[in-house]
Structure formats: C-alpha cells, structure tokens
Symmetry: C2
Subunit: 470 residues, 2 copies
Amino acid sequence: MELTLDRSAGKPVEQLIQAIKDAILQGRIKPGQRLPSIRKLSGSQGLSYYTVVSAYERLEINGLISASQGRGFFVEAQPARLASMPRLPVDEPVDNGNLNAFWRLFHGSAYSMKLGCGWLPPSWRDTQALARVIRRTANFAHSTLIEYGDPLGHLPLRQNLAQHLLNTLGLTLQPDQILTTLGATQGLDLVIRHILEPGDHVLVDDPCNSNLVQLLALRGAVVIGIPRLPEGPDVIALKDVLTRHRIKAFFINSKFHNPTGASLSPQNSFQMLQLAYQHDFTLVEDDVYGDLSNEQGNRLATLDGMRKVIYIGSFSKTLSASLRVGYVVAPTGLIAQLADLKLLTSVAVPSFCERFLSAILSDGLYERHLNIVQRKLRTSQATAHACFTRWGWEIFHQPDCGMFIWVRHPRLESTDDFLEKAYREGVLLAPGHLFSADGRQSPWLRINVAHLDAEKAESLFNLDKTTTAS
Amino acid sequence: MELTLDRSAGKPVEQLIQAIKDAILQGRIKPGQRLPSIRKLSGSQGLSYYTVVSAYERLEINGLISASQGRGFFVEAQPARLASMPRLPVDEPVDNGNLNAFWRLFHGSAYSMKLGCGWLPPSWRDTQALARVIRRTANFAHSTLIEYGDPLGHLPLRQNLAQHLLNTLGLTLQPDQILTTLGATQGLDLVIRHILEPGDHVLVDDPCNSNLVQLLALRGAVVIGIPRLPEGPDVIALKDVLTRHRIKAFFINSKFHNPTGASLSPQNSFQMLQLAYQHDFTLVEDDVYGDLSNEQGNRLATLDGMRKVIYIGSFSKTLSASLRVGYVVAPTGLIAQLADLKLLTSVAVPSFCERFLSAILSDGLYERHLNIVQRKLRTSQATAHACFTRWGWEIFHQPDCGMFIWVRHPRLESTDDFLEKAYREGVLLAPGHLFSADGRQSPWLRINVAHLDAEKAESLFNLDKTTTAS
C-alpha cells in the first residue's frame, strides 16, 4: 500500500486517514483486503505507534475498516459509505501528549478486552431499568424539560444525595452543603478555579489520574507528586515537601485510588488530616470510586466533618457516565461561591438528568445496583488476584473491591512491546506513564478487573507460557 | 413583627430567613398573616431592598410564605412543613453585586409578569412533544444512557446541526467544525479560556449580557465596552479604541442583541469584519437569539465563512434551557483544541440530551416549533411597540422579531422607584444597569415582549394614567 504523506505539514493522523481513504476510493486497497499492521505502517511511514492506532480507530468508528481480533484491520465491504462520510476531526492532541487520542481509543469497539479502561463493562449496567425511569420522569416532570435548573442542583436530588452520604459515609449534611456538577470533572475544575491562583503549590498522588494534573496545570498551579504507598501517601515524603513549600491543597483519592486500587489506612487518613491542620492546606477528596465500597465511613470527609476537606463524588463510575452528574460537598459558604462560579460558567446541570437521578436514588434502584456491582467486583478482584499471581506478576496492593489493580512483571523493564503485543491481540491496556504525576516512564499497568477474561488473557499475561509456546 | 438581626455577622439574607422562620415557629407570626412590605422591612431593618426580596423569595420557594399579587406576602397555612425544611443556602452573592440573587428571583413563581426575564413563557414550549421524543429516545438509545459521550458531541447531532446552520444561515459546515457545549455559556467559557490570556484587551457591546463581562473578568481580561447603536456597534468609537489598544477579540450579539433587541445592519457587519481583518482580532458571534429570526443569513459568520469569526449558538432560548445544549462553530483545528479543553474540564455534554436533541432536529419538530414561536413573537413585538409608544416610552429600536425591546421613559431619570412599584404589583423587570459593561446606572429597561400582558401592564407603564388615577 503506497501512501503519500507530507511530514512537514503536521496533523499526521488526519493525513493518514485521508491517505487511506484515498487509497480505498481509488481502488488501490480493495474491500476485504488486510491493512498493514500498526507496527509495520508506523515503521515504514516514520509515524508514531499511536498516530497509526488513532487513524485506524477513526476509520473503524466511521465504518471504513474493521478490526478482527488477532488478525489485524480489514477494509470494509461497503466503501460506498465513504461518499457520505463526514470529514474527520483532527485527532492530534494539542499539548497533552497523546493522552486524549489514547483516551478516545477506549471508546472504540475493536477490542475484545478493554483492561485499561476506567469504567465498568456496559453489560454490568441495567439500561432497561434506566430507560424505565427515564420514561417515567418524562411523563411526570414536564417543567424540567424546559426551565433552567437550580444552579445549586435540583433540591430533591440534593436531599437524596444527603441521605445517600449519610447511609454510605455516615456524613450528616444539609442540602446546601452539596452542589451538583457535570460529573466529578466539572467539580474538580470549579474547585481548582475557585481555590487556586496561578503559581500556587499543590500536591497530588503519584501515580494519579492524569486529567487532574492537566486541570491543575491549566490553572497555572505548581504540581508536586507525593509517592503513593499501599496504605496511602508517603508521609515522610509529604512532610519533607511541607517543610520546603507553602501548600494550598492536596488532591487525593482516598478509596480505591486511581490507578493503584489501594485505599487510605485509618492511620494514614489521620496523619493526612493532622498535616492539613498543621500546615493549613485543603484536602480535596476525589471519591469517584467510593461507591464501589460497601464499608461505611472511612473517608477523610467523615473523619474531619467537612472543615479541611472538600469532597467530590460522582455517578459516572457506578451508574452512568453519560448522565454527567457529580457533586461537590463543602461548607455552605464555599458551596454558595462554587454555585456562583458554576452559574457563571455553565448555568446548571441539565435538570432532566438531575430529576432522573433523583428518581433513581429515591426508589432504591441505585442502592440495589451498587449491591450487585460490589458483589461482582469482589469476585473479579479475587479472580484477578489469583490469575496475576499465578502468571508471575507483582500486585501493588490487593483491594477487596473497586475496579483496579496495579501490576508489573519482574521481567518487563519497559512495557512498550508488551502494550503493542496486547493491542494486536485486541487487548487495550493503560500503561503506567499515563498516571505519572510528572509523565515519567513506568513499568506498571493499571488493570480493570471487571474487564478481565482470565481464559483469554492467560496467553498474553502468562509470559512463561508465551515464551514456551512461541 | 420583631426580628433580631446581627448586622455585624454578615449573611443578612440567611439571617433574615432564619429570623422569619423563628417568628413563624414561635407563633409570633400566624398562618395567613401578612408580612411587612419589602420597602417597610428593608427600611426598618436597614437592609437592602434585594436582601429582603431574596429572603422572601427563598421562603416562598420553600413553601413557607406565598405571594399574592399586589397584596404582599403571607405566611402559609401549613407551618408544620418547617420542621422538615432543609437549611437554606446562603443567598449572598460573592462578588457579583446582587446579580446572581437577582437572577434567581426570576425563577420564583410569585410574579404575574416576568417582563425582565430572558426566556420565553413556559406555555410557549411544547412539553408534550418533548416528552414524547424523550420516551422514544429512552426506548431506542440505551447505550447513550451509560457510556461517555463523544467530546466533540454526538456525531449525528453535529450532522443535524450542520444541516440546520445551512438552512438558517446558509453556512456550509462539516461536523468537525462544530463542538457541542453545555449551553452557549460553556461555549463562551471554553472560547474565553482558550483564546484569551490574563491582561488581554477585549471588546463587548455596551450594553450587553452581564454574564459575559463576568466571564471575561474571571479570565483576567481587560473589558472595553463599545456603545451599541440601533444598527450595531458605534464604528467611530470602535476605531478610536482600536488605535489605542491591541484588541484580541470582540464578543458581539449580531441578531436580536441582548438587551436592546437590535440587529447589525449589513453595512455595520461589513465594517466590523473589515476592522477585524485590519486589526487582527477575532469576532466571537454569540447568536443565542438568532433562531428567533426567519431571515436566512445576515450573520458575521455567514459573511466571513468562519475565518475571523467564532460562532456560538444554543437551544436554550428557543427549545429548552434545561437541556443545556449549545454549540461552537469554528475552523476544524480550533474546534479540536476546544474539544480537548472540554474533555479536560467536563468530558462531554450528557449524551442522552444530545441524542434527544438530534431526534428533535431530524424529525423537523424544531423547525415547526421555531415557526410557531417566530409568528407569536412578531405579534408580540407589534403589540409591545403599539403599547409602549402609546404609554409615552421611548423605544431604542423596533425589531421585527426576537424577544426584547429596550425602553426608557423621558420622565424617569432613575428607575429605582419604578422597579419597586412594579415589583409590588407582581411585575419583575430587568433594569438597565444589569447590562452596563461597566455597571453604571441606566434609565433603560429590557422588556421581554413575550411576557407582556398589555391590559395588566397599562396601569404600571402608562405613567400619565398612574398620575391621574392616584
């Protein structure tokens, strides 16, 4: 396959997509024909691995090519669809390395096992029940279809959230201590815009959710990573940083930390709070995975009673990512200020989504759903633990629930080749460097146990077996 | 009624709410009893007019008191509801003057005529049809109930939007030139965060949407107002500013400008574009009222073909404010960058809302709805013109459609007393100073003609009649 690319013109993903489209249109690649492997094409064209992956992914989403697990990518039988295909967006991320392109990969359908993704398998969600509640909400809540919502969030929803947080965390809250947001992401963005000034020093877990580091960088904050140990942040490293810098806030996952899956021990939680008081910084507790735990309490917010802690929650990881409903819990005065910022920058979360979620919470559907998901995850965690141990991998920490484990293999110094091998076999992984607070390389991988098919995964992950077999 | 307030403790709205609640609970004010008038209470307690308005409003929303048009506020018959009432949020706006509290007022139900509000009456919206489409969407789009949406926006929706913009503006667009946003507000915020740096000089219409000025201030931009004439921005003033400052962008309503209701003349549009090219600034065309026009084209984006213009649209003013779907139109590369920022700061617009809107657009429901709304607005504009002229008011410009007119009365130097009189009669108005680019006082009022009941309004607005009668 001959492709003409102008390397000086930039936008390699878009160029590659266009070149392949042209080749298909002009009949130089026929329907059913196999495309070059990702490695081969990236090598022959001097393109990065992810540029080719991104281009193939976009072509697949648009129905021009299809992936066949373990066999590669093939031109679809109906190239007539080309004519009506919209021009594809430029997939080149702007300044986030290849992160956003990588993120988009997880939304494709070409993979048999998305072990690297950050959410539950669609089959675990009860869409029939959700659709039923939506129909009911549409029938009874006509005003929410048209009117601006409350900038604080639909009041009955906030009342239901207060009840939920009492049940799950043992927190006694008034509805005006809760602000709904467009997922936890907008919650983080609002908190960051409100409490930080450019140049402020802030702490994050290392490793951590890389989106958080980017959000902080967007605000101009100076980000310092605190190494995460199985029981929580490394207190010695933390104390050292605190002697050297005036810290404004520490953004932390207390339960089922992303990416390691580990939770703060009670002792570590207490130390974090003690240091927050001594050094006067805010703990922003991002607890988006917290509802995957059935233990009551055990959060920084619960210990502290909402003085030094801003708590952020979400339904994206448990119920629905598309609803985009999250929330921030903080003292009343701060919530009022965040509500003003939310009103100014986006007005409100769609009322219909809030009303719908309120129905899901008040009729017990959410609680029943959590029980099922937690039971499944406990089983998946046990299976993953047994498998990865048997396959010779080191597990950072074995959580009882939650969706992640963090693993590395003693023989894999670099994960690059392993990632590509996995990709060829239809297994999408999340490499450790995506979670480094400073972007450095890492031998670790984040595994979403809910997506693990032990039988299919064995040939890939059992390196001894692979070596023997090949 | 005796109320104990501690003026040094701050939070006067919350204090007043608590004091009135206490008075009701302790039986010092009885069910059915009339509360002091707003003016009387604000005078006796040394509180601002809007503090009392805000407190009454919150008490009314919580069902503790009710407003009776022209008669005042009364304690509800069921004070038992007090026990279960949540603690009320602090209503004191933080640094936006009383703007946000004022904004919230418009969402109360105590007014017979919301002439100051910025949206159509609920009765003009076809909620039955919307509910029908929602039920249909819930039945057929289960995946959108749970999965993360496309950061660019649901592709079929963007295709429908491209078709809509071709029909209404004559713009030929690819879907990757369109980014969906959480209403036009998030669109503006994303554009402002992306194209501006702190200290950049930007222009706005004067008067203009005050939310815009706050968004720009949040980014640290230096905001300069350009006087708005009936045919568009004052070109002489604009040229003068351009000789003195390096301008990054001009944020402008080209059609049915908020608050004056006037649109750019073709000559003025051409001059704006010419100046944008000469002085290399971006025109950010905020066209949220544009769909209220049935004339094709006649926008800066149409003239320019999306080179110097970023176009922002929304469905909040026409179809539904609660859906929170707006969009930004710009060159592909810029849209990709804005999509990255959107992904980072909020991930996506709820997919269900996007899918639902896509259905509304593709089955022609939106177009039919616009036809009806435009016809009603043309009638309302004609009525308003006749009335305000007869009542002796000066009208800034008489638009053929859109929802606003901008009026002042030669005898009203200050609108303060008039606003309060209107408020007592259950008529909520939007005073001109809310729209001043620099917050200065103004003798103008923004009237939403869709909310005008000429018969009810006459006694208030016909100042000669009022004087004669009293």
